[in-house]
């Protein structure tokens, strides 16, 4: 089955050890931070520790990973000018795009889950599975991964220097908008992901809420967040598929 091959080959490509090294470092960095946290501030509870480190680090790393892996779906092929090999094969373009998107999202979700597990290990040591927030976090990260990837995929198809725009979104928009007054926070993916994670720090107030980027009360329910992210991803993917199917990819002589 061509679909299965597209997915597994892309997965294998994205999971090459060299590509994973930065994420391993980030994951262990998160664990290290969780480990030293009690030394820096002995007054915080394990739940707070875990919640703050995942909110400040892992959930933001998710957006960073999405930006980097998503640009590898098509932009990298265009930059390397290898896109011609895959576009002249009897594989419908939408299928190619969708399976590679699935693979990239899976890897991003794995990167996030890996980070969350390591932070949990850093906080709870051997009893890391007793962390009540962990499962919800992993689910939230999967949703976040698929949503961010869908968004960045479209961006990467529409513009040449997608990486900068994606980073700007991930760390500009996603940091500022959740803290804006009124209902603006509803316009960020991060607020929805945090609504699914249901961290005690994500409901507004406290130092953790500053860290998690949600100074406002997050009134998004988990159900609404799931639905919003699903609809958003579906729409973005549909637009991406239409665009990719009709766009002409001519090798750029000035590709950078």
């Amino acid at each position: 089955m061509i679909e299965a091959y597209l997915f597994t080959s892309s997965l294998k490509e994205f999971l090459r050890f060299r590509r994973l090294i930065p994420w391993l470092i980030l994951g262990f960095g998160g664990m290290g931070l969780a480990l030293i946290w009690p030394n820096l501030n002995p007054n915080t509870t394990p739940v707070d520790q875990y919640s703050i480190v995942t909110s400040t680090l892992v959930f933001h790393v998710l957006a960073l990973a999405a930006a980097i892996f998503t640009t590898a779906i098509i932009s990298q092929e265009v930059e390397q000018r290898t896109i011609v090999y895959i576009l002249t094969r009897p594989v419908p373009r939408w299928k190619l795009l969708f399976m590679r998107y699935l693979a990239a999202s899976t890897v991003v979700a794995l990167v996030g889950a890996f980070g969350a597990v390591l932070v949990s290990v850093g906080v709870y040591k051997g009893g890391f599975l007793s962390n009540e927030l962990l499962v919800k976090d992993i689910i939230a990260m999967a949703v976040g991964a698929f949503s961010y990837c869908a968004l960045f995929l479209l961006v990467s198809l529409l513009i040449n220097r997608a990486m900068i725009v994606c980073l700007l979104f991930a760390f500009g928009w996603e940091t500022i908008v959740p803290n804006m007054p009124g209902e603006m926070y509803r316009l960020s993916v991060y607020s929805h992901v945090m609504a699914i994670a249901e961290h005690p720090t994500s409901t507004g107030g406290g130092a953790g809420s500053v860290a998690s980027g949600l100074l406002n009360t997050n009134a998004i329910s988990a159900g609404t967040a799931y639905a919003t992210m699903f609809v958003m991803s579906a729409i973005l993917l549909a637009i991406s598929a239409v665009w990719f199917t009709t766009f002409e990819y001519v090798p750029r002589e000035d590709a950078e």
Binding site: I2, Y5, L6, S9, R16, Q80, R81, T82, V84, Y85, I86, L87, T88, R89, P90, V91, P92, R93, T245, T246, E248, Y249, V250, P251
Partner: protein, 305 residues
């Protein structure tokens, strides 16, 4: 069968291909033109990477843009020298075989076959990053031949190949053409094309200047009489005998005095007369050549026109 009907392609203000109509059938056809003539644009149109701005293009009666049915029967060897450098040659070909709808075992088998065919079996285990230009060209050809396509398009395939490699490559193309496949090879090197085929598509500044057999095209260029060089120990005698022939336009003695240069209108009629005269008058001929009866001259004449 590839058919272009009044096909034009614009890139913004620049025209890549201008109102081209032609049909490309089985056999080896060369797409010839200088850099920027529109060869790659035509290749991209036929391989469905881009769409014509105006006009129509059909491959097997279908529009090729993003058309899987066309890609099942078409192999393309692009001009670019870009690969997945971290892969080995074998992995690269296998990967593209899987994308060409081969199952795992079939893809492995077919990969070995095409690697053998292009003479890369023993070196396919190495990473592409370490390949020479010639090896890269062979790997590109291998991936184009994977699914045994009916149409093979090769964009500047001989770039970087050594003389032996070129010879082998051209032989391979001839074999494929003999199997009834449609082979279209683009090149801007006249010498290369001359060795490959006499069936031409001549592009210049986006327009199709000429199409068909080289000799037929040459014979149709009336403005430039054919040059014939006759090597003989009696050039003066030869001149006096040949000057009266109806097709002869001009005569001159080559420097050194052992050859005669003649310009004629109808070379075939002239050769018939020449044979007759030399036998009848006992004229000793040491050599006969036609210096402008080649692709370079044809190209030059057409472009100048």
């Amino acid at each position: 069968m590839i058919q272009l009907e009044r096909c034009s392609r614009w890139y913004g203000q620049v025209i890549g291909l201008n109102d081209v109509t032609c049909t490309i059938g089985p056999g080896l056809t060369a797409l010839l033109g200088m850099n920027g003539a529109g060869k790659s644009t035509m290749m991209r149109l036929i391989t469905g990477q881009i769409r014509p701005t105006t006009g129509k293009i059909e491959v097997f009666g279908m529009e090729p843009f993003s058309n899987s049915q066309v890609y099942r029967r078409l192999g393309y060897c692009p001009e670019i020298d870009n690969f997945y450098e971290h892969m080995t040659g074998r992995q690269f070909v296998y990967h593209l075989a899987r994308l060409a709808e081969f199952t795992g075992p079939d893809a492995s088998k077919r990969t070995e076959e095409v690697l053998e065919m292009v003479g890369m079996s023993d070196r396919a285990g190495r990473k592409i990053a370490g390949y020479s230009k010639g090896m890269r060209q062979r790997i590109k050809l291998a991936q184009a031949m994977l699914h045994n396509p009916e149409i093979v398009l090769l964009d500047e395939p001989l770039n970087g190949l050594d003389p032996v490699g070129r010879h082998e490559y051209i032989q391979l193309l001839h074999q494929l053409a003999e199997q009834g496949k449609i082979i279209l090879v683009s090149s801007h090197i006249l010498y290369e094309v001359e060795q490959m085929t006499s069936a031409l598509l001549l592009l210049h500044r986006g327009r199709l200047l000429a199409t068909g057999d080289l000799m037929v095209i040459r014979s149709l260029i009336d403005k430039h009489p054919h040059q014939i060089r006759i090597e003989t120990s009696e050039p003066r005698k030869a001149a006096s005998l040949l000057a009266g022939l109806p097709n002869v336009v001009s005569l001159s003695f080559a420097p050194g005095g052992e050859a005669l240069q003649i310009e004629v209108r109808d070379p075939n009629a002239f050769y018939d007369s020449l044979t007759e005269i030399s036998l009848k008058e006992g004229l000793a001929l040491h050599g006969l050549s036609s210096p402008d009866n080649n692709l370079e001259s044809v190209f030059k004449y057409l472009v100048e026109a």
